[in-house]
């Protein structure tokens, strides 16, 4: 199969790879670049575990062609922490016991990040809407909703 070059910025770093034409962003990130913080769940756009942020918008990487991401800025959970210092969302998930088996967590956190980046003080309804494309088997969602609201509160405190 024809290989095509793709170039994008991943978590602030320039990346250039050859991918098979038609390869998904999910495959490119996991298998070419080695960013396994992006989880391969249903791979048909129904579980949300592969969600990443592309140019500020939440995208399902399993339904996004890698070659359509040329020149884009892509964010994944792999790039959220600064060394040992966790991102406020990661900290809130950790402190709020919002993760159990952990497989949905990266997608949940990216969905939450996309929300908080455009709406730093979301309502509970905003949070529910933001994660409604993400499936969690373990938690019953409530701890996740609470963690995202806690991260928003922590952000507003640090901004004040």
């Amino acid at each position: 199969m024809t290989k095509v070059p793709v170039q994008f910025v991943l978590n602030g770093e320039e990346k250039a790879e050859f991918v098979e034409s038609g390869a998904t962003l999910l495959r490119a990130l996991r298998e070419k670049i080695g960013d396994t913080s992006v989880k391969a769940g249903c791979q048909q756009g129904t579980c949300g575990s592969c969600a990443v942020v592309v140019d500020g918008e939440l995208r399902l990487s399993c339904l996004t062609l890698a070659e359509r991401c040329g020149g884009c800025s892509i964010e994944t959970t792999g790039g959220l922490a600064h060394g040992e210092v966790l991102h406020p969302l990661q900290r809130a998930f950790n402190e709020g016991f919002a993760t159990q088996c952990g497989f949905c967590t990266p997608g949940m956190i990216m969905a939450a990040k996309a929300l908080l980046d455009r709406n730093p003080q979301p309502s509970r309804e905003d949070v529910v809407e933001a994660i409604s494309g993400n499936i969690c088997r373990c938690t019953g969602y409530e701890p996740i909703i609470q963690a995202i609201l806690a991260a928003a509160r922590a952000n507003s405190l640090s901004a004040a």
């Binding site: 499936i135 373990c138 019953g140």
Partner: protein, 342 residues
């Protein structure tokens, strides 16, 4: 046609593990040269937190901080035998095995410390912070780090222990059929409130109030996690999930997450969870298995609430709008037949 309100209650007794052929788990514990402790198990952490709980149990038994314990799980080629992580048995069975192994390791550790301190091992105690001292004379002490070094490099001892926990197989009495299928039961009671649309058959769960009796909560936050998630899963089993909606026909089974339904973050019932602790006589530090049990009582409670709301008993899961409408239709037909007969 209207929204009908109903309330239902249900309680469960739930066995911890199963002994239909004996139910063993084994564990090994050994110290590294620096006095960290390694727990080896074949049991699997599925995300329910077994590694954390086994580390706590081992640390408590040996007398070291939890951070000093490393738990390795899930390799049946190299690990000691475990029946598996199922039937809510992980904490109870593996926990008891880890206690046994850790006790044996602790005994060796105290013997080595006794040689180093030139005292009797039975006079020694741990402070839980990484030191061993003579009971009543805390200044006469040695760190577990130095004890492990002495064991490895000076005394030629292995600070290690083997742990076995076996619930023996229970055979039914040939006359009466009576047997003892489990030694340890967790309990739960749920009250569910629902709203049923008798035109569409749709059920909206308004509240689920749960009380769980789980022995001792070894890690209260993780127990709460399990119970909140389990309560949600109970609703999901009652109303949404099935791979074969027309079983035994395989038709119309969900092929993806658009068709295999589960309640999402927008469908949550107001959930309350209360924990009662009644330590189990044969549980590790009193713990029972809260795992599967916590997703069960919601199902009959919701079925009862639906009966309370619209007067139909749906005894096949999940209780879909279609099943409710068919039951309502059958009920109406029966009622009109009875009216004619009168």
């Amino acid at each position: 046609m209207a929204m009908k309100h109903g309330r239902g209650v249900a309680a469960v007794n739930y066995p911890t593990g199963m002994n239909l052929g004996g139910d063993p788990t084994q564990a090994l514990v050994h110290s590294t040269p620096t006095g960290n402790f390694m727990v080896t198990l074949s049991s699997v952490d599925l995300g329910q937190g077994m590694k954390q709980i086994m580390a706590q149990i081992c640390a408590e038994t040996i007398g070291v901080p939890t951070e000093r314990v490393i738990v390795d799980t899930a390799d049946t080629d190299t690990g000691p035998h475990c029946m598996g992580t199922f039937a809510s048995r992980g904490t109870h069975r593996a926990g008891n095995a880890v206690i046994a192994a850790a006790k044996e390791a602790r005994q060796v550790m105290l013997e080595v410390a006794a040689e180093e301190l030139e005292v009797n091992a039975s006079d020694l105690d741990t402070d839980g912070a990484g030191n061993i001292h003579v009971r009543g004379a805390p200044q006469r002490s040695i760190s577990i780090f130095d004890t492990a070094l002495a064991a490895h490099f000076k005394r030629g001892r292995s600070i290690s222990g083997r742990g076995m926990f076996l619930i023996p197989r229970s055979y039914p009495d040939t006359e009466t059929g009576a047997m003892k299928p489990s030694t340890c039961y967790a309990h739960a009671c749920t009250v569910a409130e629902v709203e049923v649309d008798d035109e569409t058959g749709e059920v909206n769960v308004l509240t689920v109030k749960n009380v769980f009796e789980i022995g001792r909560a070894l890690n209260p936050k993780m127990v709460e996690q399990q119970l909140v998630g389990g309560s949600w899963m109970g609703i999901s089993h009652a109303l949404y999930e099935t791979t074969e909606p027309y079983y035994p026909s395989r038709e119309h089974g969900g092929r993806d997450f658009n068709e295999y339904l589960m309640p999402g973050p927008g469908d949550l019932a107001e959930t309350e969870v209360i924990v009662l602790e009644r330590p189990a006589a044969d549980g590790p530090y009193g713990a029972k298995g809260p795992g599967e049990m916590c997703a069960n009582p919601q199902i009959p409670a919701i079925a009862n609430a639906i009966f309370d709301a619209v007067g139909v008993r749906v005894d096949t899961l999940p209780i879909t709008p279609e099943r409710i409408l068919r039951a309502l239709k059958a009920k109406a037909a029966q009622e009109s037949a009875e009216a004619v007969a009168h």
